[in-house]
């Protein structure tokens, strides 16, 4: 994925966050969202390995081996942060105490199904905390490039890969579009300034519904 795309997606997702939200960002692209949180908005970043109030990476040389994120990378704890064990951490997640989780996708479909944890016979990393996050968070935002490198769609009618969770995705943000998962299907709400509704539909593997007013994603790359 081009870095430009990553930044666009992360910036747009960041705008979904509200002041005071408890947010869990998945490994990879979702982690970037932390860099673009609008000024005036304070969120609590939860990390499933057992901390809340996660801060940015420490200065070089100031890493603490006991303060890491869910990817094992050095982070910091902000004032007001707290540590807890894994059962409590997933209690927070499964119990509905996380307002928003942002996760990547291999596939996401019009029923809000998400597949992001394995490709049979090829890649079996494990689900880590993704299944609990998808089921437990109040709002599930998928942050993903619109298409695979070969141009095939990641947003599809039905996921063909093993699911992470069934029917739990609320919003899909790509470099091209912002799409809401509704009971009626995928509702296109915003498109990037450099694309058209027709192009977004052509590059999407499911029929899109169109919001009454489709706005432009106002993001500087």
């Amino acid at each position: 994925m081009a870095n430009d795309n990553k930044a666009i997606i992360a910036k747009r997702v960041a705008r979904e966050l509200k002041d005071g939200d408890v947010v869990n960002l998945g490994i990879g692209l979702p982690t970037l969202v932390a860099n673009y949180i609008p000024s005036g908005i304070k969120v609590w970043l939860q990390s499933e390995n057992g901390l809340i109030g996660m801060g940015p990476a420490p200065e070089e040389g100031k890493e603490d081996r006991d303060i890491v994120d869910a990817g094992g990378r050095p982070v910091t704890i902000l004032p007001g942060g707290a540590c807890f064990d894994s059962a409590t951490s997933f209690g927070m997640i499964r119990g509905g105490h996380i307002d928003v989780t942002v996760l990547g996708a291999l596939e996401v479909d019009e029923r809000g199904n998400l597949a992001n944890w394995m490709i049979p016979g090829k890649l079996v990393p494990g689900m880590g905390g993704a299944m609990d996050l998808t089921v437990g968070a109040r709002r599930v935002i998928v942050a993903t490039e619109h298409n695979l490198k070969d141009g095939s769609p990641k947003i599809v009618e039905r996921c063909s890969l093993p699911l992470t969770a069934a029917g739990e995705v609320n919003l899909i943000v790509t470099e091209l579009a912002v799409i809401e998962v509704t009971p009626e299907g995928l509702l296109l709400k915003e498109i990037a300034s450099n694309t058209t509704v027709e192009e977004v539909q052509r590059r999407t593997g499911a029929r899109l519904l169109f919001a009454e007013k489709i706005t432009t994603m106002d993001i500087e790359p």
Binding site: D85, G126, L163
Partner: protein, 216 residues
């Protein structure tokens, strides 16, 4: 009161074929001295129960590298390509479990529950061969307790009664594993006298801990 001993003495209790829980998350909060002693000892056919298999050459990953394991129960093995390779070649059995479910299964074993009902995994491959129980229109998977012969923990401070504190995100799976194994071995940074830890700062009460090892 727990016995205080070296890592080598402590892991002498671990026999080939046993199930071993190991605390830690991508290496943070992993008992490195105990892992090293297990590798040194040439342990074989262990069942590892742990969040992940860390990275090659690090933390739990050393047990994979050294061929100590016959099976891994974990939530994530993606950071260790050796684990993936051995799984694909059939040399290592791997069971993947959602991280929150793994935590509750270990906790359930420790606190004497017969199982727990979780919404996690409903409608996914995790559901396979499990009872699905519907309550008030919601579906849950019945997940059973996971216990082990041995738990290897990493704590921050211990007093001589075995009471443990943890530091920052190094806590993770350690406190729940402390309750869920037949023999509990804790590796710690520092061993202090009884009474030096405040009753309110203790996370794992000493009655759960059998052996104490000072980190080398």
């Amino acid at each position: 009161m727990p016995k205080i001993m070296t890592a080598k003495e402590a892991v002498a209790n671990i026999k080939d074929g046993m199930s071993v829980m190991v605390g830690g998350f991508m290496g943070a909060g992993t008992p490195e001295s105990l892992i090293d002693a297990l590798v040194e000892k040439g342990a074989r056919d262990l069942v590892l129960i742990s969040n992940d298999t860390c990275f090659p050459g690090k933390g739990n990953g050393k047990l994979v590298d050294a061929g100590c394991l016959k099976k891994v129960i974990a939530s994530h093995i993606g950071t260790n390509p050796v684990t993936g390779r051995l799984m694909t070649s059939g040399e290592l059995e791997v069971t993947l479990v959602p991280q929150g479910t793994l935590a509750e299964q270990i906790r359930a074993a420790g606190v004497g529950l017969g199982g727990i009902l979780t919404p996690t995994g409903v409608g996914t491959e995790v559901e396979k061969n499990k009872s699905v129980i519907a309550i008030n229109g919601h579906q849950y998977l019945l997940e059973l307790p996971i216990k082990a012969d041995i738990a290897l923990l990493k704590a921050y401070k211990a007093d001589k009664a075995g009471n443990l504190t943890y530091r920052r995100a190094a806590r993770n799976f350690n406190p729940i594993m402390a309750m869920a194994a037949g023999l509990v071995i804790a590796e710690v940074e520092e061993i202090v006298e009884i009474g030096e830890l405040d009753p309110d700062e203790i996370i794992t009460p000493g009655i759960f801990v059998d052996l104490l090892v000072q980190r080398s």
